[in-house]
């Protein structure tokens, strides 16, 4: 029999204690989550349940088809093409067709489908002429992923108009799936990961959201180069197919009075203007909001809630409706 040497016995006890602690924690947190919601755990659950790898490295992940679930307290379903939307036939249907490209904000994370700006705008635009809007929003997408999803899945729907909803983190490089992705099955590990990130973000200024987002827009950043190339490619493909292209810049909802990303959004606006893409920055429309948190999905989640979605729909309606009225 092999005799275990002195220090290893203690090490084994330490490892054993940690494993038991995590096991008990996993049970307790799952019980806790029956009545409460934690943003990071919900995002992790959404990734595990609703996302699938894409063979296209420029898309990286897509939605699984026909998902039915409840995330961040709201129902989320996908159709047979992985869109959070109704079923739509490919090709022309006789209705004016618009594709909305974007990330979790366009998807309507944390908001019931009927309250998303996509559904509100669809209803308003239908008063002008029969219109259908297809929601191509997928959580954690950047501009490169949005444009490539449009090329791969969007063109077959033969849209008359495409609107890309841009958010400050869309200049991130295309993410690669973590090698530790399977840890997402453990809610206690996700919880510790999320709390540690929150502590680091609070006490290390260089990791705060302001510094993180601003750094994305430096000329030497690969994500920004990708973004410029993607907008250029989108402009070209839309021009070739006579698809009206517009971009809406969505505000980051932490500080609205003194918006911290004015310079970055001016940089994006200048790029869009140089490419001849019609665009609208919504941040000035939000500057009179006294308490930005009233627009958040939850206090640990600054995604736009139903009220913010309604404002986005109201403020972008004029620009989006112009092509339907023959004004563009």
């Amino acid at each position: 029999m092999i005799k275990i040497r002195f220090p290893f016995k203690y090490l084994l006890v330490v490892v054993f204690s940690i494993l038991i602690f995590l096991l008990v924690g996993e049970v307790l947190i799952r019980l806790y989550l029956h009545s409460r919601i934690i943003y990071d755990i919900e995002m992790s659950r959404y990734s595990m349940a609703a996302k699938a790898d894409s063979p296209n490295s420029k898309i990286e992940h897509v939605h699984k088809p026909n998902v039915r679930g409840k995330f961040m307290g709201v129902h989320l379903r996908t159709n047979s093409d992985g869109l959070r939307d109704d079923e739509y036939p490919v090709g022309k249907t006789g209705k004016y067709r618009i594709i909305f490209l974007g990330d979790s904000l366009t998807l309507g994370w944390g908001v019931e489908e009927k309250d998303t700006f996509e559904k509100i705008l669809e209803s308003k635009l239908n008063q002008i002429r029969p219109t259908e809007i297809l929601n191509f929003g997928i959580g954690n997408f950047n501009t490169e992923q949005e444009v490539n999803l449009f090329l791969e899945k969007g063109l077959k729907y033969e849209p008359d108009q495409a609107v890309l909803f841009y958010f400050i983190n869309d200049a991130e490089p295309t993410p690669k799936k973590s090698k530790l992705w399977f840890l997402g099955y453990s809610q206690i590990i996700t919880f510790y990961w999320s709390r540690m990130h929150a502590v680091i973000n609070r006490f290390v200024p260089s990791t705060s959201f302001g510094g993180y987002y601003s750094n994305l827009y430096r000329e030497d950043q690969p994500g920004w180069t990708q973004t410029m190339e993607s907008f250029s490619a989108l402009k070209k493909i839309c021009a070739e197919r006579s698809i009206k292209l517009q971009v809406v810049l969505l505000p980051e909802l932490h500080y609205l009075k003194e918006y911290p990303f004015k310079k970055e959004y001016q940089q994006v606006s200048a790029l869009l203007a140089a490419l001849g893409i019609e665009h609208l920055d919504l941040t000035p429309f939000f500057k009179n909001i006294e308490n930005p948190m009233e627009l958040w999905v939850a206090k640990d989640d600054a995604h736009p809630n139903a009220k913010a979605h309604r404002l986005i729909a109201e403020d972008s309606f004029d620009m989006l409706s112009k092509p339907l009225q023959g004004k563009a």
Binding site: K9, Y10, S17, M48, K51, E60, G139, N140, G184, R195
Partner: protein, 43 residues
């Protein structure tokens, strides 16, 4: 098994106390509105 616990019970108790304490500290210092960017760990 009984011998194992009695032999290492002090170490096990210390470990559990440390783990509970560090969890409480983590929760305390991370409480409040979201401070960070939308960073996702899986995709």
């Amino acid at each position: 098994m009984k011998n194992f616990f009695s032999k290492y019970k002090i170490l096990i108790l210390v470990m559990f106390s440390l783990l509970i304490l560090s969890t409480l500290i983590l929760i305390l210092f991370s409480a409040g509105p979201q401070q960070g960017a939308f960073i996702y760990q899986i995709h």
